[in-house]
Structure formats: structure tokens, C-alpha cells
Symmetry: C2
């Protein structure tokens, strides 16, 4: 039994504010460690556990998105409206991809499984611009 209840008395601490601001300041999808590095420039004494705890809390309350995309680390996204992602197989970078969300795919899925469908996510794999130009300048012949 899982209910989405945001913590009753969630306090607005400096740490939370800065974490959210830093996450919102980038269009990339940083890992917890990367957020930690960004935040530490402004709050040098913050603990890594605090970053993890708050990213998790914010994700639970829907304030941010926790992306469980490929790779070993989870990534976080301050843009909470539904969108798909693409990950570079060479450098691991994750970008948004501006593709309309295919809502009808959920209905198709519902009739193909006994699961109760909640959502779906599409993750593309590809080679990003900088990695592609570095690796294969002769591929368009």
C-alpha cells in the first residue's frame, strides 16, 4: 500500500533551496554526485547524504524527477513535465528529446498485460554530436 503523501512538516532549509536552484539551473540531468559538487560550491559544508535525502524527498513529492535511465547512477531533472530522454552511448550524457509523448501507447500496453499500467518512459540510445564528430567524421559518405 503506497500513498503519495508529501512529508507533513517539510521545512524550507537553505540546503533544499540551493539543491533545487542548482538543479534547475542546468538542462543536463546530473547525478546525485554532480548535484553535490554544484551545491558544494555554495554550501561547502553540506553532506552528500543531505543531497541524496533531499533529491529523494523532492522526487517523492513530485517537485523533481528521478530518472532511472541506463548507467550505474540515477539522474535528476528539475523539469517535471513528461518527456523522453536520449543517452549517449559514448559519454553517458543524458539529454531531453523533444518528441511528443505517446499517450496511446499506455492503452496498447494495458491490453497486452495484466499489470495496471501507470506510466511509461522511452529512452533512446545514440551518439551525441560531440562524440559522433570525434569518432566518425567519414560516416556520411
Amino acid at each position: 500500500m503506497e500513498m503519495i503523501d508529501l512529508p507533513p512538516k517539510m521545512r524550507l532549509t537553505t540546503q533544499r533551496q540551493v539543491i533545487l536552484e542548482e538543479l534547475a539551473s542546468v538542462t543536463s540531468h546530473p547525478t546525485a554526485n554532480e548535484v553535490y559538487d554544484m551545491v558544494r560550491r555554495r554550501l561547502p559544508r553540506i553532506g552528500l547524504g543531505t543531497v541524496y535525502r533531499n533529491l529523494e524527498l523532492m522526487a517523492e513529492s513530485g517537485l523533481i524527477l528521478k530518472l532511472e535511465v541506463g548507467g550505474t547512477q540515477k539522474r535528476f531533472d528539475a523539469t517535471t513535465d513528461l518527456h523522453y530522454h536520449i543517452r549517449c552511448t559514448a559519454c553517458g550524457k543524458v539529454d531531453d528529446i523533444k518528441l511528443p509523448v505517446q499517450q496511446e501507447i499506455n492503452k496498447m500496453a494495458a491490453s497486452a498485460t495484466d499489470y495496471q499500467i501507470l506510466s511509461h518512459h522511452v529512452e533512446f540510445s545514440g551518439v551525441c554530436g560531440s562524440c559522433g564528430s570525434a569518432a566518425e567524421p567519414s560516416s556520411i559518405n
Copy 2:
């Protein structure tokens, strides 16, 4: 016994055979640790590192699939033809979903990004049958 297409110099050891057989014997998508447990019933002295190393090698050679779906652990799949997955948000179980792969989505993506698209994967989130019936008996009341 099926013919296994091994990369040159890759030997078909007992460990590899058993790992592959055990993985192929289930329709679930076990984690490395679960494969380890299954294999250990037949080869009690096998090491966890051996399981990891060989799952990784087999995934690289295309013999099996390594799934980087949600959750903290990677999962492995002996079925290598393209298909989508669905993960239970309650118990973390991952199942195949029999939904035709949307090839055209790659073309749409190609025109929406400067990445060179290689592939895509769709992962659904939902509640599986057993979790659903266990969690919400109040819906029948």
C-alpha cells in the same frame, strides 16, 4: 542442445553453460545476484565475480541482453529479440510486455535531435497482478 555462437577465443566452460542455461530457463529478468543463486545450486563453488564477468561478456557478444531498467541493479535476459519491459513499482519485478516494437519512433526521434539514433527502449511502470490484488482489496468492498 542449441549451437551457441561464441566469439573467437571464448571458451564454452561449464560455468558459462550453466549460467546461460539457468538464465534461459526463466522468463523473469534476474539480477546478477539472482543468477548467482540459481547457478550456485548446480555449481556451489562458483564465484560471484565469475557470474558478473560472464554475464557482461555474453551481453557484449550479443548472446544475452543486459537491461538497464529502473532499480539499482542491472537485469539480464536470455531473449535477445527486441521487446519492451514492464516493471512493478511495488515489488520491482520486471516482465516482458508483448507490444509490437515501434520502429517508426526512431525516425521521429532522429528528426528531433542531433544525436545519431541507435535504438530505443520503452519501459512501462505498473502494478503486477499479485501486488495489485494484495494492495487494494478495498476496491472490492
